[in-house]
């Protein structure tokens, strides 16, 4: 059964069709990569899933329930978590408090501390608890974003270009990390790094000019001529 699906989902920005009529189904327990050239509409699309962006038309359902009219915070409370493409941590708060804010929505008291430490351990930031988040390096802020997603223990984790700005060793660790999350967590991963896509995703969806261009296994997508054309800009 699909954990998440969309029907006819579209978004116009003053004449620009950023996302056009997308029908999308994401089965529970899958790692799905969403790829596509810059400006293809990936961020806009996932923004409409979690309620950050209001669709022009179309429906979104989660766990069999139509959530098209729910505000963002209610969707998140149904078990979605979203990490931002443009790093958006609480710069003036400590690393610990950043993750604690994400944890406190579902946990209370000492449980918060335990889960915060566990999440930070997973991204190897456990030694930086007291540091101001804004003082972290860019890569570490990305990892902090991921920890904030993990600690919510979501059913659906939406990651918008999480490996951007990470060092090679951190990218390897990231691959292991998300493979370890399924099948309890379903993952929708926007990713430009093809090695991450190839080695983690069960299925890949390609978005181009706001439309789904192709869907298939990583190997199928890799061999797809249309996809190659889109990426090379000749399509």
């Amino acid at each position: 059964m699909s954990l998440l699906s969309t029907r006819g989902l579209s978004k116009n920005f003053a004449g620009l069709q950023a996302v056009q009529n997308v029908d999308f189904d994401l089965p529970e327990g899958q790692i799905r990569a969403l790829i596509g050239p810059n400006g293809a509409g990936k961020t806009t699309f996932v923004g409409m899933l979690c309620g950050r962006t209001t669709p022009s038309v179309g429906r979104v359902s989660f766990d069999g329930k139509d959530i098209s009219h729910l505000p963002a915070h209610k969707r998140i409370n149904l078990g979605m978590a979203y990490t931002f493409q443009i790093t958006s941590v609480f710069a003036n708060l400590s690393v610990e408090e950043n993750v604690a804010l994400a944890a406190r929505r579902r946990l209370v008291g000492p449980e918060v501390t335990a889960h915060v430490q566990e999440a930070l351990q997973k991204v190897d930031l456990q030694d930086r608890l007291d540091q101001r988040a804004g003082d972290l390096s860019y890569g570490h802020q990305r990892l902090l974003e991921i920890a904030m997603g993990l600690v919510q223990n979501p059913r659906l984790l939406i990651l918008d270009e999480p490996t951007q700005g990470l060092a090679d060793s951190e990218i390897e660790a990231f691959k292991d990390l998300i493979r370890g999350l399924v099948p309890q967590t379903t993952i929708l991963l926007i990713e430009h790094n093809m090695s991450v896509v190839m080695q983690t995703a069960d299925m890949v969806s390609v978005l181009n000019f706001g439309q789904i261009l192709a869907e298939g296994t990583p190997a199928e997508i890799h061999a797809n001529a249309d996809v190659q054309a889109a990426y090379l800009g000749t399509g």
Partner: protein
Amino acid sequence: MTDTTRMLVLHVAVLAALFALQFVLPAYHHGNLARIMVLASYAIGFNVLFGYTGLLSLGHALFFAAGMYGMGLAIKIYEASPATALIAGIVTGIIISLVIGALALRAVGIAFMIVTLMFAQVGYLTVLYFGEYTRGDEGFVIQQADRILWGIDLSEPTNRYFAALTLFSVCLLVTLRMVQRPFGKTLIAIRENEDRTRMLGYDVFGHKLAAVVVSGTISAAAGAFYGLLFGYVGATFATVQYSIFPLLWVLLGGTGTILGPLVGTLFMFYLIDLSSAVTSAYMLIAGVVLVALTLFAPQGIVGELRKRFWKGLP
């Protein structure tokens, strides 16, 4: 000792010092400090919204006046007892802040400032319009006979000081506790990054509305106490000036600090008091000092202390 208890001890020590001070202060300063504690409570209310939630209201005089008139009119028209009148003032504050919050929070940023300013202006004009009951600009006095709460005469300086200290202590401890609890921490998160907070699953509008109500209610309580303790209710307290005062006090003392409102109110009160003793152009001196402070201590007095010496200060 955990951080939380250490902070509680520090703040209780400040309250204990205020308690002790009243035995040693000369009458003049004794009276001033009672007034300062009530006004600082108002500043604490303002700070909940401005300092901790990041929402700048330019209409807080509406809440202060709501408490003051809710209390005053209950006595004047319904001959209520002081306790009932205080409750009437606070309840008026709750209702008004709930309504104003629900309406004004539809606006953001500058628009929120303008809308709150406008609502406060409406409040001021309402006071004038119902001059028959409120006596308009002139205001009305609350007789000594109406200021005896549970047999305690609140017009008597020592009693008045204790009443002011009680109000201030409650406001201080409530907000201290608030910022250490998830609710207050969520308000801080909204101040720091509203979009992110929403995308962590928090109901941002609901939290902001709650912040307006907490802030408005504390402000109203301060207004109600002010009228009762000093025996006068007047339209001046509903003017723009009284919306700007708490902003200045909080900026001077330290935005988003628990002790900042007290320090800022104390500082400004005595700055004007001392400079007016020296020259009739006292606002000039006050202005220069304020500008200097903003330049050299942009985070306010307590804010700078926190930055330099005491990182964990709430």
